[in-house]
C-alpha cells in the first residue's frame, strides 16, 4: 500500500505585512517516481498556490533548488521521496537571504562572491582572432573541469559553521572556485595576488577544516582535495611574503 506522506513546510513571506514564520503541513499519498520537484509543484498547483520555491532545470544541473530536507541540504529536484521517511520537513537554506517560503537569494550571494574573489581569467594577453588557440594538455583541461562543475547551489555554504557565523566567509564553493583559477595556466595571477584575495579569514584561512561540507556537494566535487590545495598554496604564499618583509594581517 502507498504511504501517506506529510510535508511540513516553512512558510513566511517577508513582503506580506504582518506575516509570521510558521510551519504548515500538507499530506497526500506517495506515488511511483515521486521527487520533491513533483511534490512541491503538486502542493502549489492543487493545494496552496501561494507556496514559493525555485526550480529551473529540474535535472540537477542548474543549482536552483537547494533546500533543507529533513535537516540536510539537498537539491530538491533529484530527491526522491522513496528515500525519505513519511514525514518530511522542508526549510529554506540558511545563510542566504530569504525571499519567501523555500526561496532564497543565492544569485546575489554568488555574484558578490565572484566579484570579491575576482573569479575570472586575469591575463595581459590580447585575444588575437587570427591566431590558433594556445595549446593545453587534455589532462589539465580535465583537471580544471573538475572544480568548474560547481553549480553554485549553496549546499556547502548552508552547512558550514564558519559561513553561518561569518557573513563574509566565501565558503567551500568560493575556495573551490579560486582553486579552479589557480590550476588554470591561462590565469597569470601570482600566488601573492591570490593571497590578497583569499589569504585571509574570509577565505582559505577561515575554513576550520571539519569538512561538514565535503559529503554534501550534489556534484560530488572533491571539496576536501580542493580546499587542501588552496590552503597549502596560500600558506606557502603567506610564508614567502613574510620572508620578503611584507606585513600580512
Amino acid at each position: 500500500m502507498a504511504r501517506q506522506l506529510t510535508f511540513s513546510i516553512f512558510r513566511y513571506n517577508p513582503n506580506k505585512p504582518g506575516d509570521k514564520p510558521r510551519m504548515q503541513e500538507y499530506s497526500f499519498e506517495e506515488f511511483e517516481g515521486l521527487t520533491m520537484f513533483v511534490a512541491l509543484n503538486k502542493i502549489r498547483e492543487e493545494m496552496d498556490p501561494t507556496l514559493m520555491f525555485d526550480f529551473v532545470c529540474r535535472a540537477a544541473i542548474c543549482g536552483s533548488c537547494a533546500m533543507m530536507i529533513n535537516g540536510r541540504p539537498r537539491l530538491a529536484c533529484k530527491t526522491m521521496t522513496i528515500n525519505l521517511p513519511s514525514r518530511i520537513t522542508v526549510m529554506p537554506l540558511p545563510v542566504f537571504k530569504l525571499i519567501g517560503d523555500l526561496s532564497v537569494d543565492t544569485g546575489t550571494w554568488f555574484r558578490n562572491l565572484q566579484v570579491k574573489t575576482e573569479s575570472w581569467i586575469h591575463t595581459n594577453k590580447k585575444f588575437d582572432p587570427n591566431a590558433l588557440e594556445v595549446r593545453m594538455e587534455n589532462k589539465i583541461a580535465e583537471q580544471i573541469y573538475e572544480p568548474e562543475r560547481c553549480v553554485e547551489c549553496g549546499c556547502c555554504v548552508a552547512t558550514c559553521v564558519t559561513a553561518n557565523i561569518r557573513e563574509d566567509f566565501i565558503g567551500a564553493t568560493g575556495i573551490n572556485r579560486v582553486s579552479r583559477f589557480m590550476m588554470d595556466p591561462r590565469d597569470e595571477r601570482s600566488d601573492a595576488e591570490y593571497y590578497e584575495v583569499v589569504g585571509n579569514e574570509d577565505g582559505a584561512f577561515g575554513c576550520v577544516g571539519l569538512m561538514a561540507c565535503a559529503d554534501l556537494c550534489p556534484m560530488e566535487i572533491p571539496l576536501q582535495t580542493q580546499l587542501a590545495y588552496a590552503r597549502r598554496k596560500m600558506a606557502a604564499a603567506g610564508l614567502k611574503l613574510q620572508f620578503a618583509g611584507v606585513k600580512i594581517s
Binding site: 513571506n13 525555485d54 585575444f127 582572432p129 588557440e133 573541469y145
Partner: protein, 608 residues
C-alpha cells in the same frame, strides 16, 4: 500601485543566457551602459543545461581534418532542409571558430587532442596527429560530414555559460535577476523598453533604453513533455507578438530530440550516440541501420525521431513503467570508464531519476520536444521586424540559422556567435540613436499591466484556473501538434487551443496575488503562451508540405515550388488566431537538393 522604479540605460538586454550575455558584453565593450534582466541568476539559465557541445570547423581531431566553414555551411543548410537563411548561415560558419578560441582565452576548459591511435566504440579507428596535440578536439554529432562538435566532457553549456558570465562580472555589467519582462513599451514605430515584474516583491518596474535585445530562450514548455527547463515558457516571443507589429517566424518548426528520458523527459545528449551509442527495440535489435544505412543513429534529429516513432508504430516499442511506449538507448559497450568520464552528466541523470547505471543498464528513451527553431523574426543583423530599436537573438529569435531542423551543436554555437555579431549591430545602432521619453505613453503601458493584475486578483473576468489551462494546452500540443502531423488533427488542435485561449482571458486567482505570488506570475503568462502555441499549430496546419522537423503525413514531400518560404505570424489586436504572411527564402550558396538521409533515401522497412 504604479511603477516602483524606472531604470534608464543605453541598451536593455532581456535574458541572461548565453546569447543575451554575449551581446551585452559586445555592447558594453563599446562603452554603452547596459542592464540585463533575467528570471533567475544568469548562471542558472537554460544554456547551462546543454551537454553535448558546440559546432565549429577547427579541424584538429583526426576525423575532422580538412574541415572548413564551407563544409559546416553545407551541413547546416542540408540539416535545415534548405529552410535557413543562407547568408546568416555563412556569416555564422565563418565566425564560430573565432568564437570558440575566444571562449578558450576567456577560460573554457575545452577538451584537447591527444596524439595517437584510438579505437572508438562505434568501430571507427583513427590516429590523432602529434602536430595537433593540445589543440581543441571535437566529437561526432548528428547530420555532419566532419567531427566538429567541441566540448568539455558533457558539461559544455555549463562551462561556457559560467565563463561568459565571468566576463559579465569582470566588466561590472548590471544584472537585475528575478525580474520578468511582461510587456514591451512602444509607440507603434520604436521600442522604448519594457514593463517588468519584480519576482522578489511583485512590484512593477519600468526599463527604458535606446535599444532592447530579446534573448529569452525557447518556448518548449508549451508542450507537456519537453527537455527544456521549466522557465522556458517563451515569454520574450509572446510580449513581442502582443504588440501586433512584430511577427514570429516559422513557429511550426519545432525540434523533437530522439533521446528524452521518460518519465521525466530529461535529455540524454546526442553525444551518447556521437560517441557510439545504439538505439534498440523490444527485441534488442539495433534498428536504425535498417532505415538509415549510412548515417544510422546519427542522421539528423528530425529523421531519427521519425524513424523511432515509425518503428514503435510498427510494433517494436517497449512497454514499461517508464512510458507506455519507448525504445532503449544502449551505451554499455562504450565501457564503464568512457561512460562515467565522458558521459558523466547523463549517467548521473539516469542514476538520479531512474536508478539506472548506463554502464550496465539500458536507458529508456523517446523523442521529446527540444528546440524552438522559430521565434522573433529578425533580419540578418538581428533587427526584429516591425519595431525600431528592437533586436532578438538566440533560441528566442528566428535569425534563421536553422530553418526546419537545427543541427545538434549549432545552437550553443549560435548563441555566442549571434551575441557577438548582433551585439556589434546593437552597439552601432545605439550609438546613433537618441532616447525617446514619453512618460504618458509609458504610464499607459504600466496602467495596462496593473489592470491585468487587478483583474486577475479580483476575478473580475472569471475564475478559470491558470494551472489547469496550462496543462490542457500542453496536452493539446502533445496530442495534435507533435512529430507526425495531419490536417484533421492539426485542425482539432487549433480549435482546442482557441477554446483554451478564450478561457485564459478569464483566469482568476485562487490566492491573494500579493507580493511575489507565483500563481500570479503563471496567470500573467498564460494568454501569451497560448498565442505562441497557436502560432505553432496554425502555422503547421497551413503549411501543406513536409520539411525538416515539420512532417505532414498527408503531404509527405518537401514542396519547393509552393513552400520555399518562411511563415510570419502576427497577432492582431482582439484576434483569436494569428494572421499568417509569408516571405521567400533565398538560396544563394546552395540550391535545394536531397539531404542524403531521411525520406528521399528511405531504405527498406525494418528487418526483424
Amino acid at each position: 500601485m504604479s511603477a516602483k522604479h524606472t531604470h534608464i540605460s543605453d541598451v536593455l538586454v532581456v535574458g541572461a543566457g548565453l546569447a543575451a550575455e554575449r551581446s551585452a558584453i559586445e555592447a558594453a565593450e563599446q562603452g554603452l551602459s547596459v542592464i540585463i534582466l533575467s528570471l533567475i541568476p544568469p548562471r542558472r539559465s537554460h544554456s547551462t543545461a546543454a551537454q553535448g557541445g558546440m559546432q565549429a570547423s577547427l579541424g584538429n581531431v583526426a576525423m575532422g581534418l580538412g574541415d572548413n566553414p564551407r563544409i559546416h555551411l553545407e551541413d547546416t543548410i542540408k540539416g535545415s532542409d534548405w529552410g535557413c537563411d543562407q547568408e546568416v548561415a555563412k556569416a555564422f560558419c565563418d565566425t564560430v571558430p573565432i568564437m570558440i578560441r575566444q571562449l578558450d582565452a576567456w577560460g573554457v576548459p575545452w577538451n584537447r587532442v591527444t596524439a595517437g591511435k584510438k579505437k572508438y566504440a562505434s568501430g571507427v579507428e583513427t590516429e590523432d596527429l602529434k602536430e595537433k596535440e593540445g589543440l581543441i578536439t571535437a566529437r561526432d554529432f548528428g547530420g555532419v560530414a566532419k567531427w566538429r562538435c567541441c566540448y568539455t566532457a558533457d558539461g559544455t553549456g555549463h562551462t561556457v555559460m559560467f565563463v561568459v558570465d565571468t566576463v559579465v562580472c569582470k566588466m561590472g555589467i548590471t544584472v537585475h535577476d528575478r525580474m520578468e519582462a511582461i510587456s514591451l513599451i512602444h509607440d507603434g514605430e520604436t521600442c522604448l523598453g519594457v514593463v517588468a515584474r519584480d519576482l522578489r516583491t511583485g512590484d512593477l518596474n519600468v526599463y527604458l533604453a535606446k535599444s532592447t535585445v530579446i534573448g529569452t530562450g525557447g518556448a518548449g514548455r508549451i508542450y507537456a513533455a519537453s527537455t527544456n527547463a521549466v522557465i522556458c515558457e517563451g515569454t520574450g516571443g509572446a510580449i513581442c507578438l502582443n504588440t501586433g507589429l512584430v511577427p514570429l517566424g516559422n513557429m511550426e518548426a519545432v525540434q523533437f530530440h530522439p533521446t528524452g528520458m521518460p518519465p521525466v523527459w530529461i535529455l540524454m545528449t546526442e553525444g551518447a550516440r556521437g560517441d557510439g551509442g545504439y538505439l534498440l527495440d523490444k527485441n534488442m535489435h539495433r534498428f536504425m541501420p535498417d532505415y538509415e544505412p549510412k548515417k544510422k543513429e546519427l542522421a539528423s534529429r528530425d529523421v531519427v525521431s521519425r524513424r523511432m516513432i515509425q518503428h514503435i508504430r510498427a510494433g517494436y516499442g517497449i512497454q514499461s513503467k517508464y512510458a507506455p511506449q519507448h525504445l532503449w538507448l544502449d551505451i554499455r559497450h562504450l565501457g564503464r570508464k568512457w561512460v562515467w568520464n565522458n558521459l558523466r552528466e547523463i549517467s548521473n541523470i539516469a542514476m538520479n531519476f531512474n536508478g539506472l547505471d548506463p554502464a550496465k543498464d539500458l536507458v529508456p528513451v523517446l523523442p521529446t520536444q527540444h528546440y524552438t527553431m522559430g521565434g522573433i523574426r529578425t533580419n540578418k543583423n538581428g533587427f526584429a521586424y516591425g519595431l525600431k530599436g528592437l533586436f532578438a537573438i538566440g533560441e528566442a529569435a528566428c535569425w534563421d540559422l536553422h530553418g526546419f531542423n537545427r543541427l545538434g551543436g549549432n545552437s550553443l554555437a549560435e548563441t555566442v556567435t549571434a551575441g557577438f555579431l548582433v551585439g556589434k549591430e546593437v552597439a552601432k545602432y545605439t550609438l546613433g540613436a537618441t532616447q525617446k521619453f514619453d512618460y504618458k505613453l509609458v504610464e499607459g503601458f504600466v496602467k495596462q499591466e496593473e489592470e491585468r493584475i487587478n483583474n486577475l486578483i479580483s476575478g473580475r473576468n472569471g475564475k478559470e484556473n491558470a494551472y489547469e489551462i496550462k496543462e490542457a494546452m500542453g496536452q493539446a500540443m502533445m496530442d495534435h501538434v507533435h512529430i507526425f502531423r495531419t490536417g484533421p488533427a492539426l485542425q482539432e488542435g487549433v480549435t482546442k487551443l482557441q477554446e483554451l485561449y478564450r478561457r485564459s482571458l478569464k483566469i482568476g486567482l485562487r490566492s491573494s496575488g500579493q507580493g511575489a505570488n507565483p500563481e500570479l506570475a503563471q496567470a500573467l503568462r498564460m494568454p501569451g503562451m497560448i498565442r505562441m502555441a497557436l502560432c505553432v499549430a496554425y502555422g503547421a496546419l497551413m503549411r501543406t508540405e513536409s520539411s525538416g522537423s515539420h512532417s505532414r503525413e498527408d503531404f509527405p514531400k518537401r514542396d519547393d515550388v509552393n513552400w520555399l518560404k518562411r511563415t510570419l505570424a502576427y497577432w492582431k489586436p482582439g484576434a483569436d488566431l494569428p494572421t499568417l504572411d509569408y516571405e521567400p527564402v533565398a538560396t544563394p550558396h546552395m540550391p535545394p537538393g536531397d539531404r542524403g538521409y531521411g525520406e528521399a533515401t528511405a531504405g527498406p522497412k525494418a528487418a526483424k
